[in-house]
Amino acid sequence: MEVLKIATAGSVDDGKSTLIGRLLYDTKSLTDDKVEAIRKSSEQRGYDYLDFSFATDGLVAEREQGITIDVAHIYFSTLNKSYIIADTPGHVEYTRNMVTGASTSQVAIILIDARKGVIEQTYRHFFINNLLRVKDIIVAVNKMDLVEYSEEVFNEIKSDFEALNAVSTYAEQQLTYIPVSALKGDNIVDKTDAMPWYKGDTILGHLEQLEVSDVQDGGQTRFAVQTVIRPKTEEYHDFRGFAGKIKGGKLTVGDKITVLPSLTQSKVKEIYFFDKTYQEAAAGSSVVITLEDEINITRGDMLVKSDELPKIEKQIEATVCWMDNKQLQPGAKYLIQHNTNKVLSKIDGVKHVISTQYGSHQDANNKLALNEIGSVSIKLSKPIFYDSYQDNKANGSFILIDPQTNATAGVGFIH
């Protein structure tokens, strides 16, 4: 079955947990024992309604503080699709969690409290989804019941949001505005009579008709070798297969390919998936490729079509979201993990911080602190083969690993 990955962003009071709870409850995805557990927890805390955040806030610390700290993954399905929601906290100190959730999602749901309209946090949520090029954005204007289901309020919020979108550099991003009340269940799964002026889909209705495509499927064909398969059995004595996942485009038997970094050329001989061979495999497939010629290939190498070469450079410019307590500073050394390649790198400079509040540039004094986003130039110890993030998500992104702590310290999107 098709799997649609969704990220949600919103602050504590926007009713994000209630919305997710609604989706689960109204699609009958919560089993009786789970509803019972939620009822019990809600009662213990003296609430007279079901607090669905108990279904999603899985850690003791989160339940104690009544906030979402970490990304939680929530699963539900309809007859049509499987859904995975990455539920992320919305405050500025959790920017890194939001970026993490958005990195694997095709759809983002941005919640707005109808009473408050577009606020600073909305700017940040939109900016992050814009930066990460999340394809479909649902702007859910929540708590419509508290503004008397007013079409005017909805339209005002819509035009405020459109003003944000006017400066977007991602023209293909699809924005859909839906007026909802998560608490009452209006326009979440079921259509409501309360807003006859709204003719569009419910949130679930909209999700159901979206065409699923892996977030890393766009762009030209890139095949990063994960590992080499050499069975050394009698039957497959000379077999040398290259295992990896196709990112972008597709591979067909007979395709002329170039191996990077050696620039050696060959042709695709076979495409294996388990014990069968295929003529063709599309982006998203984990396969094993054999080549017509014997070429020395190891993990970290990349196969591309010979007429679709990526850039090969030792110096890159990228937008970096910083995720570590230790600040990013010029001169610092980090390990860059780009596809299956690991390269030592040195930070050349931090050009400016991009304020997620307004999407404008601020002074950086050449540093990036936790949850800040900036434009960074990086020198590499050896060349990587990359595309811009805009052209190919998988081949245009990387993580920075602190060689002292091994922590994933940041994520980069190559210009």
Partner: protein, 315 residues
């Protein structure tokens, strides 16, 4: 003319049907397996004989074909396993030609490292952690692949695909590495290890549907059968196995039941069911009103039972 062209195209597609169909979850799991083998020196697959670890074995086969699975399987045996599970395990390992490591909770008890629980709810489930951590140290495993899924339980919903554990096997839930795109950071220090969960994003129904589609063999206790049982706290317990404590006033009756999860006998309850084929099991799961872990007494100990166990080094 246009119609003719269209027809010709359709025919061409049928005569050449060899375009690989993608199952996104399967493809993701295979990708994860390959990252483990590439990034770690000494991985092991934690095999319990349950449906999730059996699914893992199939995915591992697919990830490395035509080569054999390039790591051993390890079973932490509580000594309270269903006999069907053990028989199944031994048969599978023989067919695959992979190495099986078994470490016993009984040995940890005999060595005085853990103390057997007593009473009505006694279970060896918690005791497994010590045996597991000792085995990781004994074999110097740096990556332990497990079949846990995020949909099982709310603490597991927060779990990473590569989940770093310290020297003591502890999970630091508040300080986890962010996982972006499909970039998995396997850098660790000596003494640390990583728990890897390739089917993190699968639901119970995904697993059962996969078993059905792939025709994967699973132990017979997953299917409906006649069994002597007794009921306690609304859960159905096997009455034929002496490791399950039964009070004298708890009456034994024969019912048609099956097991939805297969763990330690002392903490795994059965469900009433007539589903005796994989197709029937799949449609039963689809209709189910009770979650999978609703029949696991180990999770009922407290709201944070799983989080606490994971902090101590549990699977």
């Amino acid at each position: 003319m246009e119609t003719v062209t269209e027809e010709t195209q359709t025919k061409a597609a049928i005569s050449n049907p060899s375009v690989l169909e993608i199952n996104a979850l399967e493809s993701e799991a295979i990708y994860i397996f390959r990252e483990v083998v590439a990034q770690f020196e000494n991985p092991v697959l934690l095999f319990s004989g349950g449906k999730d670890s059996i699914t893992l074995v199939r995915l591992a086969q697919k990830a490395f074909f035509p080569a054999k699975i390039p790591f051993p399987l390890m079973h932490i045996d509580t000594g309270h396993n269903f006999p069907e599970t053990i028989a199944f395990r031994d048969k599978l390992v023989k067919e695959l030609g992979v190495e099986l490591i078994v470490r016993n909770v009984q040995d940890s008890i005999n060595e005085g490292k853990v103390v057997e629980e007593t009473g009505k709810y006694a279970s060896r489930n918690m005791l497994q952690t010590t045996t597991l951590l000792d085995a990781i140290e004994e074999f110097k495993f740096d990556a332990c692949i497990g079949g846990a899924r995020r949909d099982e339980e709310k603490a597991r919903a927060k779990e990473r695909i590569f989940s770093v554990r310290d020297d003591f096997g502890q999970w630091d839930e508040k300080n986890q590495r962010p996982e972006l795109f499909d970039l998995l950071n396997g850098e660790i220090e000596l003494g640390q290890n990583v728990r890897v969960f390739p089917i993190s994003n699968w639901t119970e129904l995904d697993v059962w549907s996969y078993i059905e589609k792939e025709r994967i063999e699973i132990p017979s206790i997953y299917f409906a059968h006649q069994r002597n049982i007794f009921v306690r706290d609304g859960l159905i317990w096997s009455a034929d196995d002496e490791v399950v404590f039964r009070a004298e006033d708890e009456l034994v009756e024969e019912k048609t039941v099956r097991f939805r999860t297969v763990g330690d006998m002392s903490c795994t309850a059965a469900v009433l069911s007539t589903a005796d084929t994989i197709e029937k099991v799949v449609s039963e799961i689809r209709e189910s009103k009770i979650s999978e872990r609703g029949a696991r007494i180990d999770d009922k100990r407290s709201e944070a039972a799983m989080e606490k166990r994971k902090q101590q080094g549990y699977f």
